[in-house]
């Protein structure tokens, strides 16, 4: 049981590190957080190509099957639901994806608001 808790904590920490690394990769040397810079960017195919690999896979899958939950995406990409949830929320912060709640489920879809 203790071992399981330790593994869970390690996993949690790894996810946090992963999220921070993603931010560093996306921001490069720019001094502003990603959400401020890219908030009005449409997610077109050229932007899709410029995303880091993991976010591109998530976004491409969302284009194909969206609106979808993190679990739906994870089924296609064969990653953990929590990992996809993290990626989807990054895409939300970047303004490429929107989320909404339906009952207990959170759905994500490509942002189609007119800028």
């Amino acid at each position: 049981m203790i071992e399981k808790e330790i593994i869970e904590e390690i996993l949690h920490n790894l996810k946090e590190i992963n999220a921070k690394l993603d931010k560093i990769i996306l921001n490069g040397n720019m001094p502003y957080p990603d959400e401020e810079i890219n908030s009005s960017d449409s997610l077109d195919v050229m932007m899709l190509l410029s995303l880091p690999d993991h976010l591109r896979t998530t976004a491409t899958t969302l284009f194909e099957i969206g609106p979808a939950t993190a679990e739906d995406i994870a089924e296609v990409t064969r990653k953990e639901r929590a990992v996809e949830s993290n990626y989807l929320n990054q895409l939300v912060r970047m303004g490429h994806v929107e989320k909404y709640r339906e009952g207990r489920k959170v759905y994500f879809h490509i942002n189609n608001k007119l800028c």
Partner: protein
């Protein structure tokens, strides 16, 4: 299982449309229900294979991309008599300079929605029983072409034996096809053995080279003719059928 193929190339004039049209007919002759979409919106030529431009086209692929019409409204019958075989429907792009000029001014938001509309249209076609969707694209990194690549299951890369085409194809492979995690197959069209020496064990850029169609003047002279229909024993027709069979094994 339904299959969506984008016929794409780095450079123009490689024979994408000829291959797309003949491949569509080859699938239909196998009894498959096929839909052929002209995604070369900046230089549409698909229609020249099926009519002289005088027939009534109610709606265009342009209307699908802009979200004005759904896929079922833009797809129409080709009028090609396939006897008892399958069926080929088609959606044309508008070869009108004002339309093309307007397209060039579309912003990224429009292109993002266009991609969504293509994917929605593709799903609708499959729901209605279409088994093979072929997207004939324009060359290089045009929005409409890359949208088609993003929406497909497999990219059929048409490559011609020139150094320029090789260099640009390699760029596309690394910067687009692999980035979008696409399955790909290469067709060497207008092939000259001495000029394509970078193929190793049937592979190039990590993708299989599934056909080498020689450079034959007869094919160029008969452009606009659907050889798979009119001359089934022609070297080009046999190559197309071979491509179809090999694609089946890749997917």
């Amino acid at each position: 299982m339904a299959l969506t193929i984008a016929v794409h190339s780095a450079k123009g004039g490689t024979g994408k449309t000829s291959i797309a049209v003949n491949l569509a007919i080859a699938y239909a002759l196998d009894g498959r229900k096929v839909c052929l979409l002209d995604m070369d919106l900046r230089g549409p030529t698909l229609r020249t294979f099926f009519d002289d431009g005088s027939s009534e086209v109610p709606f265009w692929v342009n209307d699908l991309l802009s979200g004005k019409k759904g896929i079922n409204e833009v797809v129409m019958d080709t009028g090609v008599d396939l006897g008892m075989a399958g069926k080929v429907s088609v959606a044309y792009s508008k070869a009108d300079i004002f339309e093309i000029r307007e397209l060039a001014s579309k912003d990224r938001k429009w292109q993002s929605n266009a991609l969504k509309n293509i994917i929605t249209g593709k799903k609708e076609l499959i729901r209605n029983g279409t088994e093979v969707i072929i997207l004939d694209t324009g060359p290089g990194v045009e929005y409409e072409s890359i949208n088609a690549v993003a929406a497909c299951d497999l990219v059929l890369i048409v490559h011609s034996s020139t150094k320029a085409c090789s260099e640009c194809t390699e760029q596309l492979v690394n910067g687009v096809y692999k980035s979008l995690n696409k399955k790909c197959a290469i067709v060497d069209n207008m092939h000259h053995c001495s000029l394509d020496d970078d193929t190793l064990d049937g592979m190039r850029y990590g993708f299989p080279v599934i056909a080498a169609i020689p450079c034959i003047c007869d094919i160029a002279k008969r452009s606009g003719e659907i050889l798979v229909l009119s001359d089934r024993e022609h070297e080009f027709s046999r190559a197309i059928c071979d491509i179809k069979d090999k694609l089946g094994r890749i997917l």
